[in-house]
Each structure stands twice: as structure tokens, then as C-alpha cells.
Symmetry: C3
Subunit: 673 residues, 3 copies
């Protein structure tokens, strides 16, 4: 590994608010390129991502390179004022790699090889792939390091989107090296994995395998380390390219496009190597709450970049091609959702892709330029948005500040969702959303934080199901509450250490003191089965999935179970700890129950919404010094009246509003007061 480590440079920001998309000129004859730049100018496009899948065009045979066409593309773009986010083109190797190195093809857990014919057919641990990729990246960087169009490096593409792990023999060897580094000795590994169970003790490193198909449940710590390793193996690929780019073009920022809350890659670790965190986001128009999930991802991605501006690198102008039912974005939705990304910190709006392909698997993915050309709704909306963005450059210096944070840990995610748990229905993202969605409805802005984070800058910290926790994380949560913070934690937290081994001595080991209780046993509910939470204030909420049977050790009871053999046992507790408060939720209440709880916790913590707005309206504040911009987005199907505290100017319309601003359905306002 030649990486020179995580970036710790000053935050990087683009020269202008970005507008554009993936541009794949290699799919089109050269005459089309000229139409492209003309239309880009018409639409206000100032940044395009070039060459993401161009490896085969750039190196049609092993070692034979052809950059001439790309030279012409970059010159043409530059001449037309379009900046270039230049891809390293390593996302999908050409077919010749598989022929030359069949062992570079990925292999599934049950031993199936994945062949060329689609994309991403490489084993992350393959030396052949890594060498070929490094060679190409070096050639690219050498050739274009001084090209005036180059403003950003786009390494690979959506790492792991199809192949997040490989079980081949090369990967097995790599896994063993990774384990040797992690554990030092087989004794340590045997202890960490608990191989005394089921006669799994290893006597030789070479006996260790990836968690390939096996007769039954596999060693959970082996599975967990496999996930850690698989994320790291791809991160090595990224670091390899990153190091070359930093060596040859130290001043050009580097990114790779992330994909929403994506389980296989520990983005906390990855984001440290990104000058600009970028995100591909494809909300599903069939889901009524698609925009809420999008908001959650925008907040997550902003948090990955520690609050710096990030960039929405891909979204669809209209429909995608890869869902079973690819619904269009109805008129106004593309604009509304673009503004949502800006509201939550994006430094521009980029699309996949510029021009809809005429061949290949994605030809029915919408493009900024549709098959039908410019006489289409999509094109009209693209041009309109491009014009609008030029009017809101003043957004860019502002930042988003949150007083509440959700603790989100990839390692806990992996561990929690391994097999052999009390209930297979406990899934982390669903649990996170049970918090996030209620806060979204209240317009409480949240950050996401990793276990290592110092929490003192927040008033309220939410901890959904932190099953796996290191001692130091538990201690930081104690410090946070002790110092006056408010904590809300869900059941099945604090159960195992980083090796997925039980914190013995009564659940939840590291949180007993903080929460003031002990969990005697877990009582999951069958699907369809419910219980009730009876609150001290008379409220009553249905709950399901899980019940902890709690013995109190200092906490007070806010709600108790209403039914069954544990009726009357605590369902929701609160513990005063130091100067703060720690809530513990022993079950999964219906949304109204979560809303009740979070309203109370926000109130006690002094956490305020960005604005008081009608239901269906999203409000986010962007701030810079004392200046505040209030972003209002109406996701509803009816006009919505928002009462203003003081007169304000709408950046989009230039209109001044007093008292009330009315948002049309799908309407947006950016108010400076």
C-alpha cells in the first residue's frame, strides 16, 4: 500500500455551484459532441463527469492506450466553459482482463464465478485488477494533470454496488493477511472468534476461509470480520488510486461517489480519504416517503464530510431503469428534490446522465437530453433548473447546524443483522428511520455521528439499537449525559463487544449505570403480535417486535407494558444521570409513540425545529455567521401557508414576503430575513 493516508486538508469547495451530470461521449459519434456542448450551454451546465466507463476505449487492448478522443472531448468541454470531473475509468475493466486473468473475476459465497458482460467484474483483492487499474490511473493523471478543464478526480464509481465481496482463493489469502494484521496471533483470533464453540479452533492461518457456503450458521465474528475486511479490501483499491493522484496532482481534489446508507462499505472510514464527499441518490417515486429517506441520506452524507459542503453527484432527471417499476418524477418533483439536496448541504446538482443512451442496459434510464431530444418535458425542466441555480449562489457559503444527532455505526449494523438473533426482523435502518422520520416531521435537523465522535456539541443524542459497542463509546455516551445531554436509546443496545461477544454480568453491560436498569431477558414478539405501551400520562401506544424484561436500578418508569405475562413491567424509562437524562425504550412503538417520546425528549433537551410549518413542508436553515437562509420545501399536494417571524426575501423569486409565504404544491422558497 502506498497511500499517504486520510486527507486532513482545508475543506474543498468547487468554484461555482455545480450543475451537470455524467457525460459519456464514447457512446456517440463525434458530431453529437458538438450538439452536446451547445445544449450544455443552453442548460447552464458547468461540470460533467467524464470517462467513468471508458476503460475499454482508453485501453482497448492490454497496454495499448488511446487518449486522443478524450483529449478532444476535454478540449471541447473546456472551450465551452464546462469543468470536468475526470473519472479514473477503473469502475469496470475491459473484457480482456478476464481473458488474460480469469482469476480476477469475482466469486460468490457459493462458488459461482461472475463473468464479464455487465460491469464491475473484478475481485477487490485481485493483483491483476489492481495493477491494471493503477497503470491506467497513472497514465490518466500524467496526461491530464495540467488540463485546464480538470477540477476534480472521480475515482472508480459506486464502489461495491454489485460486487461488495469476493470469496475466491486470492480473497481468502488476502483475508488471512488482513486477519494476521488485526490479531497478530492465532490465539488472539481464536479467542476473539470464540472458536471453542462448535470445534472451530484454528491451528494454522491457512485453515481459515471466507464465510463461504457452509452447513449452517457461520461463526458470527468471522462473518463480522469478513465484512470489515471486504470494506477494507475495496478501500485499499480506492487508496491505491488516491495515492497516485495525490502524488501526481496534489492540488486536484479527489472523490468517489457514495451511495446512500449502503451497508457493505464503512463510509466513516472511507470519507476520511475524500476531499469532497459526493452522493448518488435515487429516491423511488413509488414510495410516498421517498423524500424523507433522501433527507436522511443527505444528512448522513453531510455528516460523513463533517459538515463541509458535499455534492449530489448523481440523481435521475426522470425515471431509472433498474427497478421493477420505474415511475417518472412527476412535474416539479425533480426541481423540488434537487432543492432538497441543496437545502441539506449539497454544493450543486448533478445527474446521471447527460444524454440518455441509445444502447445498453441503461437506455431507459432518463437523461438530461432524452431520446426524444429537446422537445420533452425533461429537457424543459432541466433548462429551467439550470437557470434557477444561477440565482442562488449565495447559498454556498452557508452551513447547516444541528443540535441533535443519531449515532450510526456500520460495524454495529453488520453485527446486529447477522443471523441467530432473538428476532430476524430487527433491522438497523428501519430503526434509525423510526427516529429520523419523526424528527423530519418536526423539522428538527439532525447530524449523524460515528461511535468515535465527541458528543458535547449536541443537546440530544439518539441511539437506536447499539447492539455492538466498544467500552470507550459507552463511556463517551456517559460523559455526554453526565454533562447535561439528553439521550434516547432503544432496546438491544450494549449487548456485545467489538468481537460480538456478550458483555457478561447482566444486560446491557456497559449501559446499566447510565440507564439505571438491568434487562433480565429479551422477549421478541411474533410477526403480527403486538403489545401496548401505557404511558404515565394516560397515552397508550401499540408496540411490537420486541420487549425487554427490565429490572429497575434507579430509572423511573414512564410507560409500562399493557398485556401478557410481563404486563406492568417497564416499557419506557428515564434515568437522571449527572446533569442529563437517559431514556430507554424497551420495545418498538407505533410511529405516534415515537413522536410522543421524541417531542418530549426534544422539549427537555431544548432542541427546536428549524421553523414551525404545516405538515408536508420541510424546513431547513443554512447559516453563515449571523446570516440565516430558511429553505422551505412543500412536499404536499396542496398549497401551504407558512407564517414568517419577520419579513423575508425569497432568493428564487426576488419577492419580499411579510407575515405569510404561500408555497404551491411542490413549491420551494429560500428566505433571507
Amino acid at each position: 500500500m502506498t497511500s499517504n493516508g486520510p486527507n486532513r486538508k482545508a475543506p474543498f469547495q468547487l468554484a461555482a455551484m455545480a450543475y451537470g451530470g455524467d457525460y459519456n461521449p464514447e457512446q456517440w459519434p463525434e458530431e453529437t459532441w458538438h450538439e452536446d456542448v451547445r445544449l450544455m450551454r443552453e442548460a447552464g451546465v458547468n461540470l460533467v463527469s467524464v470517462g467513468i466507463f471508458a476503460w475499454a476505449k482508453l485501453e482497448p487492448r492490454p497496454g495499448v492506450y488511446d487518449f486522443a478522443w478524450l483529449d478532444r472531448v476535454l478540449d471541447l468541454l473546456h472551450a465551452n466553459g464546462v469543468m470536468v470531473d475526470l473519472a479514473t475509468a477503473t469502475a469496470s475493466p475491459p473484457p480482456w482482463l478476464a481473458k488474460l486473468h480469469p482469476e480476477s473475476l469475482p466469486v460468490t459465497a457459493d462458488g459461482r464465478t461472475l463473468w464479464p458482460g455487465s460491469r464491475q467484474q473484478y475481485c477487490p483483492s485481485s493483483p491483476a485488477y489492481r495493477e491494471a487499474a493503477a497503470r491506467l490511473v497513472r497514465m490518466m493523471a500524467e496526461r491530464y494533470k495540467h488540463h485546464p478543464a480538470l477540477v476534480l478526480w472521480h475515482v472508480n464509481n459506486e464502489y461495491a454496488c454489485h460486487v461488495s465481496e469476493c470469496f475466491c482463493d486470492e480473497s481468502a489469502r488476502h483475508f488471512r493477511r488482513w486477519l494476521q494484521q488485526r490479531y497478530g496471533s492465532l490465539d488472539a483470533l481464536n479467542a476473539a472468534w470464540g472458536t471453542a464453540f462448535w470445534s472451530q479452533q484454528y491451528a494454522d492461518w491457512d485453515e481459515i476461509q471466507p464465510p463461504r457456503a457452509a452447513p449452517t450458521f457461520q461463526n458470527p465474528t468471522q462473518q463480522l470480520d469478513w465484512r470489515r475486511f471486504s470494506s477494507d479490501a475495496l478501500l485499499e483499491c480506492y487508496e491505491l488510486e488516491h495515492a497516485i493522484l495525490k502524488e501526481l496532482t496534489p492540488d486536484v481534489p479527489v472523490t468517489t461517489n457514495f451511495m446512500h446508507a449502503f451497508k457493505p462499505l464503512d463510509y466513516w472510514k472511507w470519507a476520511q480519504y475524500e476531499d469532497l464527499v459526493t452522493l448518488d441518490m435515487y429516491p423511488d417515486p413509488t414510495e410516498p416517503d421517498a423524500h424523507v429517506y433522501a433527507a436522511m441520506n443527505y444528512d448522513l452524507i453531510r455528516s460523513l464530510g463533517t459538515g463541509r459542503p458535499w455534492l449530489l453527484m448523481e440523481q435521475a432527471p426522470g425515471q431509472v431503469n433498474w427497478r421493477p417499476h420505474n415511475l417518472v418524477k412527476e412535474p416539479g418533483i425533480m426541481r423540488l428534490w434537487s432543492h432538497q439536496a441543496l437545502a441539506r448541504g449539497s454544493d450543486g446538482v448533478m445527474f446521471f446522465q447527460w444524454r440518455a443512451s441509445k444502447a445498453g442496459s441503461e437506455k431507459f434510464h432518463s437523461g438530461m437530453v432524452p431520446h426524444g431530444g429537446t422537445e420533452t418535458r425533461t429537457w424543459r425542466e432541466v433548462v429551467a433548473l439550470g437557470q434557477e441555480l444561477r440565482r442562488i449562489e449565495e447559498l454556498r457559503p452557508t452551513r447547516i447546524h444541528a443540535e441533535a444527532a443519531i449515532l450510526f455505526d456500520w460495524e454495529n449494523w453488520w453485527a446486529l443483522e447477522l443471523d441467530s438473533k432473538p428476532s430476524a426482523d430487527l433491522r438497523l435502518v428501519g430503526q434509525v428511520r423510526s427516529y429520523y422520520d419523526r424528527l423530519f416531521e418536526r423539522n428538527v435537523t439532525v447530524d449523524f455521528v460515528s461511535p468515535g465522535t465527541t458528543l458535547s456539541r449536541y443537546r440530544l443524542v439518539l441511539v437506536p439499537n447499539l447492539y455492538m459497542v466498544r467500552d470507550e463509546t459507552a463511556r463517551e455516551l456517559e460523559r455526554f449525559v453526565e454533562a447535561g445531554g439528553t439521550l434516547v436509546m432503544s432496546f438491544f443496545s450494549g449487548i456485545v463487544n467489538e468481537h460480538d461477544q456478550i458483555w457478561l454480568g447482566g444486560y446491557p453491560g456497559p449501559f446499566r449505570r447510565l440507564l439505571g436498569l438491568r434487562v433480565e431477558e429479551f422477549a421478541p414478539l411474533a410477526p403480527g403480535q403486538t403489545n401496548t405501551m401505557r404511558m404515565a400520562d394516560g397515552h397508550q401506544f401499540a408496540c411490537n417486535l420486541w420487549s425487554d424484561i427490565i429490572a429497575l436500578e434507579g430509572a423511573e418508569v414512564l410507560g409500562e407494558f399493557g398485556e401478557g405475562w410481563y404486563a406492568g413491567r417497564p416499557a419506557l424509562t428515564r434515568h437522571t444521570f449527572g446533569r442529563g437524562l437517559a431514556y430507554y425504550l424497551a420495545t418498538r412503538p407505533e410511529p405516534a409513540g415515537m413522536a410522543w417520546l421524541l417531542a418530549r425528549a426534544c422539549h427537555e433537551a431544548g432542541v427546536e425545529p428549524a421553523a414551525h410549518v404545516p405538515a408536508g413542508v420541510e424546513a431547513v436553515r443554512r447559516q453563515s455567521g449571523t446570516a440565516t437562509l430558511l429553505y422551505l420545501l412543500n412536499h404536499g399536494h396542496e398549497p401551504a401557508d407558512v407564517a414568517l417571524e419577520s419579513p423575508a426575501l425569497d432568493l428564487l423569486t426576488g419577492q419580499r414576503h411579510c407575515g405569510i409565504v404561500t408555497l404551491e404544491p411542490r413549491g420551494v422558497a429560500i428566505l433571507r430575513s
Copy 2:
């Protein structure tokens, strides 16, 4: 390849209306054979298919043949007046082939080998299989070419019913040779496949693979060519046998039994090599509309044989064994469904199989002679039908004539149902049935036509979802309408060319002129979601699955969408083009909507039903010169009265009817007027 090409001989017809079934004497002791021929005589059996799975008996070891038993079988059948449809016995190689040539076993897309133990365990491209098959066919033809019982060759059996494609290395090499022949150069292939997308460009033929398991969606043109190739690879197997038979027995007609609308094989191409087109049909008694699907297949098979008589080669006397729930045919159903095949052009009625097996996977498949012998309902029904058929020989010179046709193209089927489409729920056969079933209810007889067909002999042509279309097909449809024909076309037609590449310049490229409109975008609906079609005449129909957003270019609007953001946009249009009319349907209406549309189109085109009969009664006309036979089949559970235009004689009963003929439930009449 040694094939001497498609047959272009005079239509072949059997010497008598066929009655019989598959006969597998190798499963029984020789004394049973004598009982068999006695019972065949009792049932009126005059044709049996012999030896379909007899390879292992005929060649028990590689190169060691034993024909003596088959000699005795054929002699015995001939002596009892039973004609023989002699199988080439190549449908399932003996286990020794797999031992001698393990590479001849088929391999699935994910690399699993399919082993002996069932049947059809051969790779279609395997030289070892092909050589062994050719050797056997030559031996058979040499030995039996002068046998007086031989009236028909039965090549192989239900090609591709289990193994329609093989992904082994031999198949890969064969695929590459096929591609070389198709494209000539790699440049042409790269252009056709659009390999500029996702870095798929090939630099060497050997880099090309079958569409084996891959990380994600595979190149669609590769997938499409793979389907073309797989159909052709098996067609080569057929042609290989066909050529040997034509060489040695030029006067004996050749067939292979087809299986309903079967996706893997392009039967238009195959049927050209058949002297007699034959069909295996197993309607599912659990489906209320099983007889409608059967009718559709009978019309398709008749169309494959360009209107010549065809033969129902297999049906079940009672229940089958291979469905999860194998219901019996209730009393009268076997007779009714047999007559349905005759009504639609079959030249006889054949069963699988003569005598129910006592061992093996199909022992619970009904036979003409059940396990319980002759004291069974099945046997009684078999004997009765055999007697009845002898009374209707005059059916045989008649033919079926249709004024309406449905365009049906295997290549379009393959292309339409590849992945990455706007909606995965759009399936061709369902769409065809949305037309066919409504016409069946109206007793409008239809042909099926391939894209290459001259359409001038029809009044009405129906085009369900012709997604993929060659320019010449589009031109033929224009010529048809221009000359006065009526056309009804469904959405998502005219989208791609034969390489699955978009017809650019606005959908539906090659049909814009004909239809007088442009489709701006596709708006599929989510499952369960509906819209409405509001017709100008006040009718209103629910619709679902899909909406085209249409911009008119000359067409008139007959119906518009009722809801959502595209309410008021056209849902059904009509365009006067030349002397004809072109309807375009932008969505999938409920059945009543299709019935409304097709009633109107039939009326305008002057297409008449075969007869005006009550619901549940099927009517088909068979004609010869000026003579007409009207076939009436009552599929209902109640008696049905059919009003006659003129007095008529029922061939089955010899009764003369005036005014009204009453059909019992499951009753049949064949009326000569």
C-alpha cells in the same frame, strides 16, 4: 451443417384422421404388446409414436445396437393396421454418453452441470451428442426406410423443454462462431451491442462469453443474440437429423412436436423445416380459461404451418403428473377439448401416452389405458372418441380462413422481456391474450403472422407491443393501412431496432407517420395503481401498467386519461392513413375496454364472427370451396341454444337441425348447412 434447407414441398396430409398416442413398448414385457394392439383396435387407434425415449434400448452401449425388438413392435403394429410415427429416439441420450463425454452435459448460467437421471441431459452444441445422434438416426433410417408401418418421422421430442440453452465452454465457442457469421467483424459486433456502454468493448472474439452469471444486468443485445443463438443451436440439431432423413427417406414426411407459445424457440424459423407441424397441448384444468389459451395455441400452430392441417401430437387423456396439482379432466372435457383442436385445424387427436407407465417420473400421468385397465372412465371415453372420429372424415379437406391477424414475433418477445425496462410487468403473452381472448369471446377467428408476412389478405391487424421492429416490418404495416386495412397497436411499440438500439428522434420512430403521434415519455404505473380511460362516447374504463404521454401529430383522440398529472392527455387515438385506420392504445385497459375497442375496430374493418352464439359457446368455420362446416363447442356448464341461419346436419349425430340447435354442457356439434 448438412441440411438441405427448409421444405417447400406440397402440403403433407396423413392418409386418415389420426387417432392414437405415444407408444412405449420398451417399458413392458412382450406379452403386453399383444394386449396393446388388441386394445388399439378396440379404440380405433390408427397411429402411434414409437421409440421417443428408446435410445438406451436401441444402443445399450456406445456403438452396440439392438433393433430386433423394435422390428417386432413395428411388424406387430403394421399387422394390426396401426401406422407408425417413428421417433429418431434422440431426445434423451443414454447414461453412457455422459460417462464417455462428460463435456456433453449441459451447464447453467451460474455454472451448474445438469446430470443424467432424468432426460434431455445434452448440450445443444455438443459435437459428441450430435455425432452420436446422427449415427443413430442414420441407422434408424437405413433400417426402417422401407417398413410399411412408417408414415412419419418424429425427430427428437419437445426440443428445449428442459434445456433450452447451455453455458459451457463448447457452447461459448459455438456462440462465437455464430456471432462471427452474423456480424463478420468485431467492429460490427461492438457497434450492434453498444459495447461503448459500461466498458464492454471486445478486442478479441475469444473475450466474448455467453451471458453467464454476472454482477448485474447484462448487455441486452448480447442477451438477445444469445436467445437467437440458442434457438438456432437446437435448430441445427434438428436440421442435422432432418437432412439425414431427407437423404435416406425423401418421401417420408418429417416433424418434431412443438409446445404451445414457447419462448425459447423461434418456431417461425423452425416450422419451415416441418412437413407437418405438430403440437403438444396440456391445458390446465385448474384454469377456467384453459380452453381459450388452447385455442390461441391451435391458431398459432396452424399459422406456423401457413394454414395447412396440423396435428395435435400429444394431449393428456386425463390428468398429468408435472403440475403441483394435477386435476382430472372432468367427464366430457377430454372429448370437448379434442374437438376444439379439430375445429381449429388439427388432422387428428393424439395422446401422451397409450399405456400409463408403471414406473418412472410420469407414472401418474394418465394414459389411454390406465393402471386400472379397461374398467375405467378414461378407457370408456377413449373408445367413444375413437368411434366418433370415424364419423367426421369429411372435416379433413376443409380449411380455416381468418380476416384478422395478430402480429407475433419471437425476437420481439425476447427483447421486450429483457431486464431494465420501464416496467417489468409488461409480458408479451399477457398482452397478446388481452387481444386474443376478447376476439375469442366474439368468435372472431384470427391467424398469427410473423413480421415478414405480407398482410394484404387481412382486414384487421393487431399489434400488441411491438417493441422491437425492423424498418421493413414498419413499412409493411404502413402499406397495409395505406391500402385500407385497420390496425390496432399497443404502447411501447417501435422503440428499438433489431439490435435493441433506440430508434432515435422521438418515439415511436418508425410508426410516428403511421400513427400520427409522438410519445414524449413512458409513465408506467406501480402495481395496484390505476388510471382511467375516458372515451369520447362516454364510456370509461380502468387502465393500468403503463401510460404513454402523447403529443398528437395528426391523430384524433378517442379516449383520454382521467386522472393524475397527465389527465386529459390521449389514451386512445385513431389516425386515418391512406385508405385505412391506425388505432394506438397508450395504456392497458381492463378487459371491457379492450372488448369495446376491438368491437369498434372489427366493425370498422368489416370483420365478422364465425357465428352469433351465446356466451360460452365457441364457433369456428372450416371451409372447402363453397362448403362450410360450422363447429360449435359449448364450454359452459349449462345447455346453450344456438340459432341457425339455415337448416343444418350435425355430422356427429347425423341429426338435422332447423332454427335452433341445443348444445348440452360440454356438447359439440359440427354442422353442415
Copy 3:
């Protein structure tokens, strides 16, 4: 094979009623062992199973053994009065075996290898596994043969629970040897398998394969023989260990723990080699009838041991980990279900496991000592039960006697559930339960009997769907009825012989005389479809799944079908045969119909319930000479009053009851009168 054959020794019984569980000290530091024995004493534990998954600890490298730690464990247990059920530790080989002998790993039907990382990763036919296992067993037996703690050998563990068959080349060779032994000649095999069907005839033993993935339905007799072979291949593994143990420790009884009605292993054959039949039972708390299925298994396991005491070797103190939803046992359930096992013949109560693991796949499986230690409900219940058991030692000499028996045959189970049947919904255990559950509700105690059993000791014999039957079994059933017995048989019985070949000449060949009828055809029903059974006495019951179309040959009609084309045909018949009665049920009635039929059959046969008790109360009698203990278990949620015929003493409370004994919800009484 070195086995010295089935045991035919005097029945073995433990020295005391067993209480304890699996004990895995290798997972814990040695200091924990001392806490363990202290707690064992507190809970009254007197027997533990040691070393089941200790192979890797005992032989950390090939041929390198470490017994010192086990010496210490056994000494410590013995010093604390705890007996040891010592495992042979062969259940899961250490990872080194796979490295040294990759060919010892199991392979699935579709060619996937199953790798180390979980457990049981060995091919049952592997010489490498067998040799390593035999070597270890010999070492263990030599070392501990005189250890005073050793009272029972625990061979392997839950044979086949994950890997019941292997399709590797070694298994293929083994299968061929097994077939050679079974059939002697290929001619015999070809005849038995009916290979004349589908060209499957074998010319060489080496052509035969396991039923690996194939194009379609595989030869059913091959599949059936494969199941026979796979059960036998594992039985050979067991016999191998058994023979070594019998050689070195002839006086120590041997067991292996069975798992409920487990399809892959023919436990009738296996049980002959067991000195003590032992069972692992995990009723699912999500199922309301979990206790009924448990009771069925207890009766089956008792029958496998020919009525001798058996031992509940494993149950969960609380929740398990391997279901999707692992519900707890609510308070009182563990005790109630433990008593149920005792009521039906268990000689003690054992758990998996003593101490809940802190690592590995089963860490969320409950233990007698939970993660939370002794301040838990589970521990309190464990201690209470241990104390209670000490008060009921007088149970041990008693035995259970049944007057009714259900014929249960593994080979029929296998054959019945092969593919290609009239209905795929016909499953044997469901059918057995349709009888068993109704008898359980009546508190009629039943035995299970194998086809070879002499039936004269029973009054009533129930035969659910004996599809496959040998002639001698049919004759024994005739003898039973002829001599005055009452028989109830369900449809689809007597259809095939041991080679799965049809008994020709009219169904059900070997039972026509006994039943006085002929089945003309099978008419299965589609899912959701029903018919009715109209009884002569006016009752009417819904029925589904299946209808036989019956022609009477002496039987009388008790009920007829009410609907459809076979309305009026017999649905339930009764035939007087000799001095007995043979009922035949042609369909699957709703539970009330089965209850009606079985009430009648019990009445006619003179079969009485164990006691007359309210619904929800289970009653079983244990007898010794003239002494009777009446076990009463209240599975209901309400108190239940049971009327006593005579005054009785409750062994559990020491209380004397007259007239009425009231059982609390989940209450138990053991009454001596």
C-alpha cells in the same frame, strides 16, 4: 464395517432420574468450572453431556491430542456428584481436516461445496472423516473407560441435522457399492428403477450418479434409493463408533440424540443400535399446538425404543436462536413441557445447554445459567424444577401402554413426498397429525409402529396414506383385521411396491380385498377447492386436497361426496373383514370430520381415553404392575377441574384429592390412586 450389530440387551435405565444438560467447559476459563459445579449442585443437576463439540480442543492438530483439560473436567464433575454422558466429539471435525482432506467436505446436489466455519462439514462417506473419527473415539474410550463419572456414551450429535446427504464423487462411488449390494446385478437395478423410461438404462455401474441437479424430474426409484443410502451412510458412521465403544467399554450404554420426526434418517433402523433412545425437542412457542407435536414425538421416540424409558436429551430452558422469531417460554411453560416428556416416558429432563455461550452462533440460545447469571427467571425456574424432580422418583419403574397404533414408515414418507404425484400438497406428517391430534384431544394414548411390527397387541391401527407398501405389510394388516382388529386407512395407500412401481390391476392393489373396494381414479383438488362428505347419520364435513373415485367391492358406504361430478360416490367406507373392520377414507376431511371418524372407530374398537378431562388438559397413564399414575397437564390458560374416579395422592404436592382436582393454568398433577 466393523459393527457388531444391533443391541439386543436388556433395557438400560439410568441410575436416577436425569437432570442436567449439555456442558461445554471448553468455552470458559477454568475458574468458571468451579462456579458451574457449585450451581449444578444448587439446581440438582446429576447428569451432563460433555465434549460434544470438543474435537478441536482434544485434537488441535492432526494426531496431536490434549486430554488433560477433559480429565480435570470429568474429575471435577465426579467429585461433585455429577454423572457424565461423554460425547465422542465427532460431530464437527476441526478445520484442519478440511485443509488436509478438502475432499472430505460435503457437496450439494447442485455441486456447491460446504466449507468450514459452522459445523458438521463432513461427507458421510468420506474415508478421511471416518478414519479420523474412529481414531478419536478409540482414544477417548481407552482413556475414559474406567472413569467413574462415565455413565453413557453420546455418539456424535444430531446426525444429519444440516448435512444429510452428500453428492461428491466419493459419495457417488459409495452409492454404487451400496446399490451393488442391494441389487446384485445391473439388470436387477434397471428393472427396479424402471430405466426403460426416458432412456435411462445403465450399461455400467460407473454410469450411475447420485440424483444431482438434472434437467427435470429424476428417476423416482433412484431418488428413493438415494434416501435409503444416505440414511445408511450415516448409520455406518454411527455403527463404526458404536463398534469401537462396544469393544472397549461393553458395559457402558451408548446413545446418539435423535431429532423429532426427522425425515432424512430411518430411525426404526437406527434405534436398534441404541441402548437408550434419546431425543432433542424444541417446540416452537409461536405455535399454539406446539405441545401436541411434542407429544407426538415423545410417543414416537418411546415407540422407537420399543416402550423402554427414553431420555429427553435436549430442550431449551427458554428461547432458542435459530428460528426467525425466537420467543421465550412464558412462565410455567418450561416446567409444564418438561413434565409432558416425563408423562410420556422420558427418564429425566436435560437441556441445551448448561451455561449460555458468550460467543458463537448460539449465544442467544438460552442456557440453564443465563448471561445475566442467577438473578433471572430462567435460573429460578431451573432450580425449582430440579427440586421437584427429586420428589417423583417413583415414576421411573412405570411404563406407558397403548391400545391404538399409527403405522409410520420412513420409506413410505420418502416415496410419498417425491415429485410427480397427483398433488404436491400431500405431506405425510400433516396426514399423521390429522389422526394424532384428534386422538391427543381425546387423550387416547398411541404407539407408533413400523411396517414390520406384529399388530396383534393393538385394538385399533391407523394407517395414514401408506402409498408405498410391501406385500408382507399388507398381509399383516389383513391378519390384524381378520383377527378382530379395527383399521382406519387413508386414501393413496397401497399404490406402489418397494421400488415405487405401481401395484397393477386396479388400486389399491394389495388392499382391495381388505377394504372391499377399488379406486378407479384419483381426483385431487386445487388449493382452496373443497368438497363435502355427507355421512349416513346426517353429519356433513368439508373435505379437500384429494378424492378417490371408488367402485365398491363389498364395503359399505358411511359417507359420500356431496358435490361436483362425483357427488354421491363413496367418501368413507367400512368393510367387515374376518372378525374386524376396515375403514377407508377417500379424502381429507376437516378436523371435525376426523374427530367424528376416530370417535366412532375408537368406540367400535373399545379403545378408551386415559381419563375424561376438560379440553386443554392432557392425561397420560403410567403403569407398573397394578399401580397406575395418572399424569394431568393443563395446557390451557384457565384453571381446569378434573373429576377423579377415586381419591388420589398428588406426588408433586403430597396432597390428597377427592372428587375434584383443580389444575392451575400450566398446572401439573401426578396422581396415585
